[in-house]
Amino acid sequence: FPPVSFLSLHHLCLLLPSLPTDATAVRVLLSGDFKVSQAETRPGNDASDQLGAAAMEASLRAHRPAALLIFAFLSLLSVSSSAAQEIQILNAERRIDLSSQVAIVFLTLKVENTGKAAASDVLLAFPPTEAEHLAEVKAQAASGKKRKKTYAHLIVEPTDVPDAPNGAKGFRLALHNPLSPGETTTIEVLYMLTHSMEPFPAEISQSDPQLVYYRDSAYILSPYRIKQQTTFIKTPSTNVQSFSRVEPTNRAGMELKYGPYEDLPAYSYSPVLVHFENNNPFAVVEELVREVEISHWGNLQITEHYTLAHGGAKLKGVFSRVDYQSRPSASGVSSFKNLLARLPPRVHSVYYRDEIGNISSSRLRTDSRKSELEIEPRYPLFGGWKSTFIIGYGLPLEDFLFESTDGKRYLNFTFGCPLSGTVVDKLTLKVVLPEGSKDPSAVIPFPVEEHMETKYSYLDVVGRPVLVLEKKNVVPEHNIPFQVYYTFNPIFMLAEPLMLVSTVFFLFASCVAYLHIDISIRKG
């Protein structure tokens, strides 16, 4: 085989250090599930052809299922899809921004209906490894030309693509106006991938910069044939150690350009790997529990429990305070020591603590539009280090609680994590409704898991209903309002004060009674 795409081969070997051969398993997989044969018949596609062959050679040495999945993609060049044949993409442009810990991908597709019938929706495809890191997919359709462009949001929902190879996950974009035959439209898609950059080397010392791998395909994975496509990858710095070449490939400054590639069949895939420096804080909130407690006496109390970790390359060996203090630019560049929490305006009684007490290193800035809480964990976070803490604050209730037209009350609050620049692996949002409220229901613009709990707080007798919302993989784009509707009778507000008053009354009454009753046995 001619030694093209040397890098990817090189990295394949890195992936599979000294695996025993198990050729039969691979062969079964290749022949059984995929139509590999098409690769040879298609002319004018040297790179992919060679890659496929290279992959086959490599895959013959593999037997791990996880690795197989990747190789299956490599070996796969085209799968015909009967449903998708009626749409083709004239022009696709993909911009991948890798300058933070989240890969932000901006995709512009010019779609044409080549079939006979009108098409009402367009499919997107993601490889399963990407799909599980997919935090958010947004799409909009552009109509009009140049200056007069108007955008309409499209509903994105996950769907099963029946003939998708290798478990590729599909998303369906429902078009507002069905695309009649021969017509074209432009669709813009934004999606984000978390944990998509893998630190390599996985352990670095305090003075090393952090290098990461980013894996993707040079070709856009799509169930449709793409006439022309280009991919741009933006790295945070000019320090790019290496990148795969799928000609034509260019690098200029902080940008890598793959393509343009002409006329690729559906489900084309050509893995590329970029190795570059990324010292941005990999602040990962492994778990966040937000508790929103509504008190109809006028306060909304928020308590947020964070489990924060540095998701980047692990610190190897010593942590030297001398180096960290005296050479801040050359020491611990990938570590971070402060975070910014954006809180709603008019926030009050803010606290920042952990299980062993108050953490004194925080600053709060407030103005009429927003509040910013700058917090420092007890120690700077290096790769692999963890920290847990709690942020709590109160908010005026009138800013967030409203009455709907049908007499129900609803809370309008922001979902997501207030810490900027972080990725939340698992977010649990608990809305604690006042005691005695009924029929809670949540309206959230994206799918979440829901269940109910009961919480006992001060002077509760029957307990407060708690609506628990859980979502995995939360990025700052999820900081959008959601609503919780419930019914509440204001008479319940008086229950606790009345309880207190009557207790005190009975206390005094019993005192008075005791003083007037002679309970001695002796005759007086």
Binding site: G317, V318, F319, S320, R321, V322, Q325, S326, D354, I356, G357, N358, I359, S360, R378, Y379, G384, W385, K386, S387, T388, Y456, S457, Y458, L459, D460, V461, L515, H516, D518
Partner: protein, 755 residues
């Protein structure tokens, strides 16, 4: 109280009757009567029924003063929460907090049978059997009670506020105690004095969650109930005092003071011929029941009947029986000579038997000898020579005069005055308080921490002085004014008044003198109040975990390095990692970092502590062997060279050497000294410059500029430039150093591969 309220009511009814009578005399038409009656009734009610009688006024005054004192005692202890935060202070409270947490989470039986693997690795500690559970159980009960009443409090808040709450309760006990030994006004003064006395506040501020917090309450309660029992001869009170004693035993090791003071008191009463049946009932009931109850505490158990410290109580118990027996025989025998012979025989045999029993008991080991701690109380120099681990604790040092002044202020002068008043009016109760005051003052002189035990006695006796003086002076002023008033209105008011008037005339300056003296007393008392407040806010409210200092611009700088390090340990080390540090930090590491420690503040195993001391004072490779044997993963040292924090490990190092050398003679103190001088600069002893502790504290410190105009590696705590700036570590590596370098943590490397 009931009769007074009743009298107020009858008063009102009489008034009503009176008006009814007067109206009926005028005999108006019956229809007009109600309106008239109503207005009259209102008049009478507003004037008469709301005007309290003197006795009621006094009661109201007393109750409201007590209530204010109660609140004051609580809030003055909240300075620490205001200045810092609601947190547990110092060292031992962290252990108490951890055990309380365990108790509330796992329940009482789990707690009672708790074997703690996280301390004293690899030995472990039987926690349930080696602690006084009173404090934890008290806090847990409060917590469960509040939870039951639907107060969603955190256990930490309960623990933080336990000590102030019990301090408030102590003021109530002090009031009743003062009332018992003198009168209710002395009780009020005692309550007010003890509420703010720094000697007590030092151990009971919010967050100081230590045994002493509840123990002083229990101590005073036991004494009060016992004195009450002696005064009344009532079985109820002595029973109550036995339960008070039980609570005290469950809370603090200082119960030994009670079980020695009460027998001593009984003995003194017997000798001074004040024996009575009341005393017999009180002591026997309290001793027998108290002993049985105390033996239920596992940490005390059979010690209560076997150890030397408790023998005095048993001896006095038997002596009481002999006394009673002799009394009975004397009553039966009419012949005096016969009785004297009998007395001689009985006394000789009893003393002989007791001596033989004590001798045999001690010789056979059935009666254990006095412990070192007890012995060092009687002989202050004992610990210094024999038990360095007791002598090394700062709170076990002999008390300096200044700290008496600091903790007692004017009480120090009022105390002798109070003793004078007590001697002037000797009763069973005043004898008790005098004895309590004198013995506890002696112990306070021996050990700094025992000022705490002396505080209630000092407050009570001083309160007697204040109350008696003020009462005398006030009486002088009052009689004078009464006489001048009475003289004008009633000429023949009695011979007594006229004689007083004569007395006044004979001493013309008496009135002015009394006023001046009263003003002086109030001046002193107000000085006392300001002093107490100042001491509380400045000296006794620091949690010692968080250090506060004034910055260059007068701003407050917080050093939160301890928690930074502990939290780092908790989050970033393996959960089964063993941490080696000097024993001071053991409790904090287990509680806050949740990691296993080698030694901690429960200094029960001297050898183990000496092993750690030896490792710290050896060369690195020798220390590495010891650390490998102990399975140590991390070593934690406290270092104040950057911030100028003086109670760090370098300053404690000589004690490590001494304690280590006490068990392992390889470690010799002179090796670390130069001409008997302890130094860390260039002139330091070579062993000092290369021992593990020195290396760990000063590792890479030589590169750091700490102060402007000083060479790098200038130790601000000791004010010298360090002697060894080129420290290389072979078997350990720096794992974490806090932002102000106060805590440094090193990781012990695994052994090198042999090939």
């Amino acid at each position: 109280m009931p009769p007074q309220t009743m009298s107020a009511k009858t008063d009102a009814t009489i008034g009503v009757n009176g008006t009814a009578k007067s109206t009926s005399n005028q005999a108006p038409p019956p229809m007009a009567l109600p309106a008239n009656l109503k207005s009259d009734l209102l008049n009478k009610l507003s004037l008469k029924s709301f005007k309290l009688k003197t006795k009621q006024q006094e009661l109201l005054l007393r109750v409201s003063i007590l209530f204010l004192v109660y609140v004051l005692a609580f809030i003055t202890r909240l300075f620490s929460v205001l200045r810092y935060e609601s947190m547990i202070h110092e060292f031992d409270p962290y252990f108490n907090y951890r055990t309380t947490l365990f108790l509330t989470e796992k329940g009482f039986y789990e707690f009672w049978n708790w074997f703690d693997y996280e301390s004293w690795y690899p030995l472990g500690r039987i926690v349930g059997g080696t602690l006084y559970p009173g404090l934890m159980v008290t806090a847990a009960l409060i917590y469960w009670g509040l939870r039951f009443l639907r107060f969603a409090v955190h256990i930490r808040e309960v623990c933080v506020l336990t000590a102030p709450f019990f301090a408030s309760n102590t003021t109530l006990v002090a009031y009743f105690f003062g009332k018992e030994i003198w009168d209710s006004s002395a009780g009020l003064v005692a309550a007010a004095l003890i509420a703010i006395c720094p000697g007590y506040i030092s151990r009971s501020v919010a967050g100081s969650y230590d045994n002493e917090g509840v123990a002083i309450f229990a101590l005073l309660l036991t004494f009060y109930l016992f004195v009450k029992a002696v005064n009344t001869g009532s079985l109820t009170w002595s029973l109550a005092s036995a339960f008070g004693y039980f609570y005290m035993v469950s809370a603090w090791g200082g119960y030994v003071f009670i079980i020695n003071l009460i027998p001593l008191y009984v003995l003194v009463l017997l000798i001074t011929g004040r024996y009575s049946v009341r005393l017999y009932i009180a002591y026997n009931c309290m001793y027998v029941l108290g002993m049985l109850l105390a033996m239920q505490i596992r940490f005390v158990g059979f010690q209560h009947v076997q150890s030397g410290e408790h023998m005095a109580a048993m001896g006095v118990f038997f002596l009481m029986q002999v006394f009673y027996f002799l009394d009975w025989v004397k009553y039966l025998l009419s012949d005096k000579r016969l009785f004297e012979t009998f007395l001689r025989i009985t006394v000789t045999t009893t003393v002989g038997l007791a001596a033989v029993a004590l001798g045999v008991g001690t010789a056979s080991g059935y009666i254990s000898p006095w412990t070192g701690r007890f012995y060092s109380l009687l002989d202050p120099t004992y610990a210094k020579d024999h038990i360095p681990i007791i002598a090394s604790v700062s709170e076990h040092q002999p008390t300096a005069w200044s700290s008496f002044m600091f903790d007692f202020h004017i009480l120090l002068f009022l105390f002798p005055a109070g003793l004078y008043f007590c001697f002037k009016r000797l009763t069973d109760a005043t004898i008790f308080i005098v004895m309590y005051g004198l013995t506890s003052m002696y112990f306070a002189g021996v050990m700094v921490r025992l000022i705490l035990v002396a505080t209630p006695a000092v407050c009570l006796i001083s309160a007697i002085a204040v109350s008696a003086t003020v009462k005398n002076l006030a009486q002088l002023l009052r009689t004078k004014s009464k006489v001048t008033q009475g003289g004008s209105s009633k000429a023949a008011s009695g011979s007594k008044a006229s004689s007083k008037a004569l007395l006044d005339q004979s001493q013309p300056f008496q009135r002015n003198g009394a006023i001046a003296l009263l003003l002086g007393v109030f001046y002193l008392l107000s000085k006392y109040a300001t002093h107490c407040t100042w001491v509380t806010s400045e000296a006794y409210s620091s949690p010692s975990i968080v250090l506060a200092a004034r910055g260059a611009h007068g701003n407050k700088v917080i050093f939160d390095d301890y928690r930074e390090a502990y939290f780092w340990l908790q989050q970033n080390t393996p959960t089964d990692a063993k941490v080696m540090s000097w024993w001071d930090y053991g409790y904090q590491i287990t509680a806050m970092a949740n990691r296993t420690v080698i030694v901690d503040n429960n200094t029960w195993n001297n050898t183990h502590i000496a092993t750690v001391g030896r490792a710290m004072s050896s060369y690195e490779d020798e220390a590495y062997e010891i650390m490998r044997e102990l399975d140590v993963g991390y070593v934690l040292v406290v270092f104040g060279g950057v911030t100028g924090y003086s109670s760090d490990d370098i300053n404690k190092f000589l004690w490590m050497v001494r304690i280590g050398g006490g068990v392992f003679p390889v470690i010799k103190e002179p090796d670390y000294l130069v001409n008997g001088e302890y130094r860390v600069d260039k002139g330091a002893a070579p062993k000092m410059l290369n021992c593990l502790m020195y290396k760990l504290c000063y590792y890479r410190f030589g590169e750091l500029m700490t102060e402007y105009g000083k060479p790098p590696g200038f130790d601000r705590a000791r004010g010298v430039e360090i002697g060894n700036k080129d420290i290389k570590l072979e078997h350990l590596e720096e794992a974490f150093t806090t932002s102000n370098w106060i805590v440094r943590i090193y990781k012990v490397k695994p052994p090198n591969n042999r090939w």
